[in-house]
Amino acid sequence: MYPPNFEYYAPTTLDEAIGLLDQHQGEAKVLAGGQSLIGMMKLRLAQPAALVDINRIPDLSYVREDASALAIGALTRTAELGRSDVIRARYAILADAGREIADPTVRNWGTVGGNLSHGDPGNDLPACMLALNAEYVAQGPKGRRTIPARKFYQDSFVTALGPSEVLVEARVPRAGPGSGSAYSKMERKVGDYATAAVGVRLAVAKSGAIEGAGIGLTNVGPTAIYAAAASDFLNGKTGSAADLEKAGELAASASAPVADNRGPVEFKRDMVRVWTRRTVAHAIARAKGGA
């Protein structure tokens, strides 16, 4: 498998990168980790005329928390999510996902920005960002704009990102007191796309009531799915067995899987139900101080 040739640019500033993308009018692709793109180029299913390698642009790889948000730079390698102290302590959903994306070697090179902006329904991080109600910062020829994750994914591999825009940062609302989160991925083996995966973020108030619940689903529809009804349902509930079951059922109804080697539609829906229930329980346990 040998890719066709292409022009290669390694700009050192974002403006330069955006200029190059703009100049190629959709025929250039951003090369970040390249863990999906290069594979498709080797199969010659993707044949971009030019690649704009953004790896030499400084200051795009970071994880930092301020008063309002956790900010993750686009060039942060996905392996870093599982290693970051702040993420492990307060945004466990991302640490969980960071240990499940592809395999450990691929995670060393694959980037958060690539995982989020590719629009692949099988990628793990979009569902987490949907659960977390994150925002993406995109920079293009007209400057910066912010796109809510829940409005970003339009169809399989179709996102709100323009052809000359680069996703530069993901911003996750700062985790408040009593918050807990988790990501569970059912996969056939390491390196597989999920059969079904569920990300949950919530907080448990002093009263014991669930607040701010968000549930995201991976690879059970044309895009990552925000399970709105299930999320809304949980708010104000205590997380009883019946609550969890109901949340699972609502999430299952929100999924729209297709049959493939991983199984038929009804099985995948049921896995959404089961893993939603289990993952919500895990997030609640974490919110209450468990691991």
Binding site: M40, L45, Q47, S156, D260
Partner: protein
Amino acid sequence: MEIAGDFRVASPVGRVYAFFLDPVAFTDCLSDPHQVRAVDADRFEGTVTTGVAFIRGTFRIRGSYTGRTPDRQIRIHLHGEGLGSGVDADLVLAFSESAGSTVLRWTGDVHLSGPIATIGERMVKGTVDQKAAGLFENARKKLEVG
């Protein structure tokens, strides 16, 4: 892979029927870059550059009208080759007229072969439907304007 859809257009059935018997007019409704010419009354050929996400390539296409029932039905077979892969589709267009407008109901059976099917299917599946819907929507618009 089954695809289907329908539309209603304020245009007499004879005109709609004739429109789809003109391969150049009909394929001109593709939103992707294309070049199509009629070979004879039954056959046409050309190229279409199409894709989804990363997958993008030029397909050599051959089409043939495999059935015609005036003002009632057209059957078309489409065959495309590109990216080391094949696409074959059998389209059935069924027409009915009521109160001066025409309802077109289209169904298609699409078969993918080669790397696109083997490796790219998860990327392509949703799109085939969209592309077909887009083509017929463009056709409806053209018929309405014209």
